[in-house]
């Protein structure tokens, strides 16, 4: 079954500050949507509202037509909303392999099995190892996650999302802080995910060259509101983006 995701007038206020302001968007399977905007625009907060880390002040999140606005994060994850975090968010004292296996385990619905030793679950172990090869971390499978350098932690963050096999992928600046030779591994993975046209992919990204090469559609958020939405070429040329990227946040590199 193909997936459908929609936000209707999705809003959250922190005190008087409206971090996400009546954002209405429909996301279609087979489409990679880039979400861009200056720092503090509300991109991460928008993700948090969709995947359930934050509850909306008003508005709705609809998955497959069902209103999931009030559901908890774990239930949304089980429904297929998968999330990778901007600030690396791992299990620091578990090994790299264990981190990924935990995501594989959840994807396979193994939540409460207490009788079968973990190391006998060859299916989980092999799937996790395969993903570690995909993100080029197989050499470090036995290292504790906390001991990895930053770039590898970012890769592991992405590996957890891929291992979760969601129907909606939410990447929040997956290559931020990665070196030039590390980033392609992750970008190739995302490009490969695009081949499966039953999935929705959302990508928050500041680097315009990345956005241009991957995105089928761009959404621009400024001050929590959606100010542009459409084809990459059109959106990039629009005044909203020119202003957002040339006027407010030049440090992330302006579109050329």
């Amino acid at each position: 079954m193909s997936v459908s995701l929609e936000t209707r007038d999705l809003t959250i206020r922190f005190g008087g500050h409206v971090a996400v302001d009546r954002v209405s968007c429909v996301f279609r399977p087979g489409e990679l949507t880039a979400i861009v905007g200056p720092n503090g625009a509300g991109k991460t907060t928008y993700f948090n509202l969709i995947s359930g880390q934050l509850r909306a002040s008003s508005g709705q999140v609809l998955l497959d037509g069902a209103d999931i606005t009030a559901e908890s994060a774990p239930l949304r994850a089980r429904r297929g909303l998968g999330r990778a975090f901007q600030l690396t968010n791992l299990f620091p004292n578990l090994t790299v392999a264990e981190n990924v296996r935990l995501a594989v385990q959840s994807a396979r619905g193994v939540h409460y099995n207490i009788l079968r030793p973990w190391m006998l679950r060859r299916d989980l172990i092999e799937r996790a190892d395969q993903i570690l090869v995909d993100v080029a971390l197989e050499q470090k499978r036995a290292h504790p996650a906390a001991a990895l350098p930053h770039g590898d932690q970012r890769k592991l963050e992405v590996a957890l999302l891929i291992a979760l096999e969601p129907r909606v992928f939410m990447f929040d600046e997956p290559t931020a802080g990665m070196s030039v030779d590390e980033a392609p591994v992750v970008l190739d993975l995302i490009a490969r995910l695009k081949k499966d046209t039953s999935k929705i992919i959302m990508l928050v990204e500041h680097k315009m060259d990345v956005v241009r090469s991957l995105a089928d559609r761009i959404i621009v958020l400024t001050n929590g509101a959606c100010v542009a939405d459409g084809e990459p070429a059109t959106v990039i040329a629009s005044p909203a983006v020119q202003e957002a990227y040339l006027g407010i946040a030049p440090k992330h590199g302006a579109p050329s």
Partner: protein, 354 residues
């Protein structure tokens, strides 16, 4: 290796230490005849199980509970009350154990569902309050529990000292009911310890660790942390109740001081820390070190005290006065925490797992 669920002690020293302790415990009735050493050995078995079940909560799930002695007490009182009321039979033992498990499980479920939703510090407070209330209740309901005096009862025939398995004389008279009772304690504790090992090495156990490490991310992966934490709380309570039942069968007595007192809760914490959290094997090491110190440190100091006194060093001897043994136990504890911050097991088990 599957009997250890793929989690051997790891490291030569640690393996040696665990094998040594378990080996000595397994042969205790033959190696150390006499009632005091056997009492000590049985207490190590019971405490190893009790501490291991606490480690499931603290070391694996990262939950601080002060109600562990309550569940221990529920097990001990269950068996005591049943044997007292129904007479010494195996039926009474199992009826008491069954009732105790039901009560412990239900209590743990309630406390968990009620208080594990929010911060785990709140859970710690609630367990403290409930455990204190339970201790008061147990001493007030004297018609049921025997109050402050507790309950003395007889155990089934086969576990009594007078019972002879084979003609007396064989095995140097060790084949009596007391030996049988000891092996019941040892065997059940060993099997339950292996079961705990299986649980922490299962997919469920890994999720507990994940929740301890990063509950926020565990939720984002689809794990419902309240359910997992509550399940861990119930499991730990059931194992603690079994330890309590073993303790009751061994002592043939259950009272507030042997099960519910807060000082036992402190002992459990000390044993977990000495042995090493989140390792399970730490429970065996911690229990052995602690119970041995508790029972023999005083005697050892008595010997040293006498010797030094004779040597004419009264000031030094004063420090070693056997009455000060608790002070030295404290010093020992501080030193062990200082030199083994991850516990004896954490220290001896240096290599990372695959």
């Amino acid at each position: 290796m599957m009997i250890l669920s793929g989690n051997p002690p790891r490291g030569k020293l640690l393996t040696g230490l665990v094998v040594l302790v378990v080996g000595l415990l397994a042969l205790a009735p033959f190696l150390f005849p006499g009632s005091k050493p056997l009492n000590v050995a049985a207490k190590i078995c019971v405490y190893a199980l009790l501490v291991a079940s606490y480690d499931l909560l603290l070391g694996y799930a990262g939950i601080v509970s002060f109600a562990h002695t309550m569940f221990y007490g529920v097990g001990a009182y269950g068996v005591a009350i049943a044997l007292h009321a129904l007479g010494a039979s195996w039926f009474a033992v199992f009826a008491g154990l069954g009732a105790a498990l039901a009560v412990a499980g239900a209590l743990a479920l309630l406390i968990g569902l009620f208080s594990l939703r929010v911060q785990t510090i709140f859970f710690a407070m609630v367990t403290l309050a409930v455990a204190s209330a339970f201790a008061v209740l147990a001493s007030q309901l004297s018609w049921l529990t025997g109050g402050e005096d507790g309950r003395t009862f007889s155990v089934p025939q086969a576990l009594r000292p007078g019972f002879q398995l084979i003609d007396s004389g064989a095995f140097g008279g060790a084949a009596n009911g007391r030996t049988l009772a000891y092996y019941l304690v040892f065997g059940v504790a060993a099997v339950l310890f292996l079961a705990l090992l299986r649980i922490v090495e299962s997919p469920f156990g890994r999720v507990l660790q994940a929740i301890r490490e990063n509950p926020f991310r565990a939720e984002a992966l689809g794990y419902r942390i309240v359910v997992h934490r509550t399940a861990a709380n119930v499991l730990a309570a059931l194992f603690a109740a079994c330890a309590g039942a073993l303790n009751a069968l061994w002592l043939r007595y259950t009272g507030p001081d042997t099960t519910l007192s807060f000082s036992i809760m402190l002992d459990i914490l000390v044993m977990v820390v000495i042995g090493g959290m989140g390792t399970l094997y730490g429970a065996i090491v911690g229990a052995a070190v602690f119970v041995l110190a508790q029972n023999y440190l005083q005697a050892l100091m008595g010997v040293a005290f006498g010797a030094i006194n004779k040597a004419g060093l009264p000031l030094v001897a004063g420090f070693l006065n056997p009455d000060r043994w608790l002070l030295w136990l404290g010093v020992l504890f501080i030193l062990s925490v200082y030199f083994f911050p991850t516990g004896v097991v954490g220290r001896l088990r240096a290599d990372p797992k695959p």
